[in-house]
Symmetry: C2
Subunit: 458 residues, 2 copies
């Protein structure tokens, strides 16, 4: 029986998946080549240096699209194009805050994305302190009249990033909850784990039928300071002045490039990262890294000269940060060929190594995922849940519409030290870890695209 | 012969030093008590929380003096007082910079202390890049006409902080060197080792007879970015706008508290740290820690109930950051009793452990330093050079005027990660390391003050 198996433990023939031993070997060779060094670093170096920050809807995001089209065309991809869509743009203005009493001193803050401005002369008010979102919700209606709500809700680290969903609720929903209680504004402890003096921004949303109040985040050291001062028992008075603006309707877009499949070109496997970033850092780990990893993986497959049966579609998403708008626009644009979207995944969780693979696919698809798992184990990727939905933020809408999902989970223990801060810059990326990510993406992309299975559970 | 020695290896009698076995035992007991926990953390917590940033000459520095007088009086010290002096005050205004070409994006900068402002509309000019201060010096006169000088001079770490003196020259002198070559302004890579997006400030000086041009520091990631861009070969154009102001003559002061000596009250041993800080952080490691360590050490000696032969004088120096002005004022105020200043040292190199003791004293004084060394070795302090002058920045003027010097050298490997940045906040301090510092200072203070030796080399 042992003779039936190749030296590497994989069956010689895989009639159920369409993956030949030569195809699996090709994936393995590409993996090893990637581990030896890729162009991913050069790509993220170029994007973060030549474009820098690229806020959704900004002129810089447009320059990033032009950069992507230029580079992807030069690399020799097929059908390089922009799929445009419109968004409501927002821009950060000046922002300043200070403690006025009992101990006057400046505070390090930043406006949350989408926040309205304060009045021109700012807001001066007493803080009402809450230890978390539940305490804020429990406040009596009207009890925050004339006050600024301060909410702590201190985010803790998690390798898989799951604590972000939990703690992030405060950033997304806090302003409207506070407004319901009568607050003039809300200042939250940053949803992030940086111990440095950076406030973490990120998108917030106003509920319908509630007053829109300004929403800011404080750096963790500043939040500590406010809490130390409040524990001394005197009322805490603060000044808050921010001038963000809504700019109305502007253009954004997804940049797309392909490796056309040799047998089933109409069937597409989607990989990618998002091109936009917040405005303060240069979007290196969020998400220049994802752009670089997936572009480098696609380019390696292209350069190896063998085309997979299906098309590999690289999507560099636009306007992710402000509401996953690129993903939603893609869904709208591709409603009529949704069944041709075979499977997809996105790299948008930093630049550390992939340590786990999770998936939710059909039994037939699971055979291909098992082969991926065998090829990924030697580069440190463990098998996680095989009934776990999710492929990255920009694919959320597509996954909800039925796209099979697989995720190459990066180690996110330190991701929220940099996430959405001015400190998200190129120097934080380890090129060796980046190459390991590329290796994982070539294995996924090649095997998914060269297989014939239906990953959808009907 | 062994019987002559106590169990701890110290001679039973020390007729040459005035230190009795009981006195040495007292120092040892205080040391051990300090290692078990001190009030140093509470002091630095109070100063950084209740005052926060305290720029030399500011109203906040005045509040820090009032805080110190209040606390030192409540602690029961003798002769708590302020020795006032006048300084020329400076204040930071708004500051903003951006790359305009070839790749437009914002830059993270800060004005160096003492810098003049740019014109109201800022300066737009091409950068002339230099890899270090020597290259800048070598530029031809007039060669920087119409340009902004950019100088890298990347500071490296050193445990004893000696690299700061070397690399710091650029911050102190760079503007005038660049002005001599015709530059409109100078932007330097921060004199500091932070890998985060913080520009390090610090005092600069204009030479006489040279145009005064604006001087700014860039964060290390921003300096990397500029250098990456410049290597691509196109001219680099930047915009710089800063509005710092000189405020004229204002008050500062040194806060002094004493433990009056029982035999020679007119002879004083000086310890202390500086009360002022830069304006962006809360001055935790620079130098709330030094204030806390030396105050806690003096308070332990006071509370133990035994008075040393000589007076221990705690000096919390004012206006250190802007030119060691407190130290210079003290020298002026005490010129007539300089010979009564027996020996001194200052804690102003962060909050990490003391790892080394250096000194430059008389042969007679060296006997006391040897006893200090024996008591400090068990808490990890090695003996360094015994012919090395220097006791901390505020004692520089006094040491030049003949004050014997001893330094309890803290581990400064990471000091310049935080030094003179907004990130110098309380959370960066390890309370256990702080207690070890207090232990070193009680040993020094008690033994120096209870001895009878003359530390001066005649
Ligand atoms: Zn992202
Ligand atoms: Zn993000
Ligand atoms: Zn200092
Ligand atoms: Zn300093």
């Amino acid at each position: 029986m042992l003779l039936v198996f190749a030296h590497n433990g994989l069956a010689d023939t895989r009639p159920d998946t369409g993956l030949t031993p030569a195809s699996i070997d090709h994936a393995r060779q590409l993996r090893d080549l990637a581990m030896g060094g890729t162009m991913a670093w050069d790509i993220v170096e170029s994007l973060t240096t030549e474009i820098g920050p690229r806020l959704a809807g900004s002129e810089a995001e447009a320059r990033a699209r032009a950069w992507a089209v230029r580079r992807l065309t030069a690399m020799g991809f097929d059908k390089v194009r922009i799929e445009p869509f419109e968004i409501q743009a927002w821009t950060r203005g000046a922002e300043r805050a200070a403690l006025l009493a009992p101990f006057p001193q400046p505070l390090e803050i930043t406006a949350l994305g989408g926040s309205v401005a304060t009045p021109e002369n700012g807001i001066t008010a007493e803080l009402a302190l809450f230890e978390g979102i539940d305490a804020l919700k429990a406040a009596a209606p009207g009890s925050l009249e004339g006050k600024i709500a301060y909410v702590s809700h201190a985010m803790q680290r998690s390798q898989d990033g799951s604590s972000y969903g939990f703690f992030g609720k405060l950033r997304r929903e806090g302003a409207s909850i506070a407004a319901q209680k009568g607050a003039l504004a809300i200042m939250i402890r940053s949803i992030g784990t940086s111990s440095h003096r950076f406030a973490h921004t990120g998108q917030m949303r106003y509920a319908e039928d509630v007053a829109q109040i300004p929403a800011a985040a404080l750096s963790n050291p500043d939040a500590d300071q406010i809490e130390r001062i409040a524990r001394r028992g005197q009322p805490v008075q603060v000044y808050l002045n921010m001038s963000p603006e809504s700019l109305g309707t502007v253009s954004s877009g997804n940049v797309i490039a392909e490796i056309t499949g040799r047998e089933r070109p109409e069937e597409v496997v989607i990989i990618g990262g998002h091109l936009d970033s917040w405005d303060q850092g240069t979007g290196a780990i969020d998400d220049g890294a994802g752009v670089a990893i997936t572009t480098a993986a696609a380019k390696m497959i292209l350069d190896a000269g063998k085309r997979p049966r299906r098309t590999i579609r690289l999507v560099l998403w636009g306007a992710e940060e402000v509401g996953l708008l690129g993903g939603k626009a893609y869904l709208e644009a591709h409603r009529k060929d949704l069944d041709k979207q075979i499977i997809g995944t996105e790299s948008d969780f930093g630049a550390e190594r992939v340590w786990q693979m999770t998936a939710q696919v059909s039994a037939e698809g699971q055979q291909v995922v098992d082969i991926m798992g065998e090829l990924l184990a030697p580069i440190g990727v463990a098998r996680g849940d095989m009934d776990k939905s999710g492929s990255g933020p920009d694919l959320t809408a597509l996954v909800e519409a039925g796209l099979p999902s697989l995720r190459l989970v990066q180690n996110g223990m330190d991701y929220f030290d940099l996430h959405h801060t001015p400190d998200d810059t190129l120097d934080k990326i380890d090129p060796v870890a980046l190459d390991q990510n590329v290796a994982a993406y070539v294995v996924f992309s090649w095997l998914a695209a060269d297989s014939t299975v239906n990953f959808r559970s009907e």
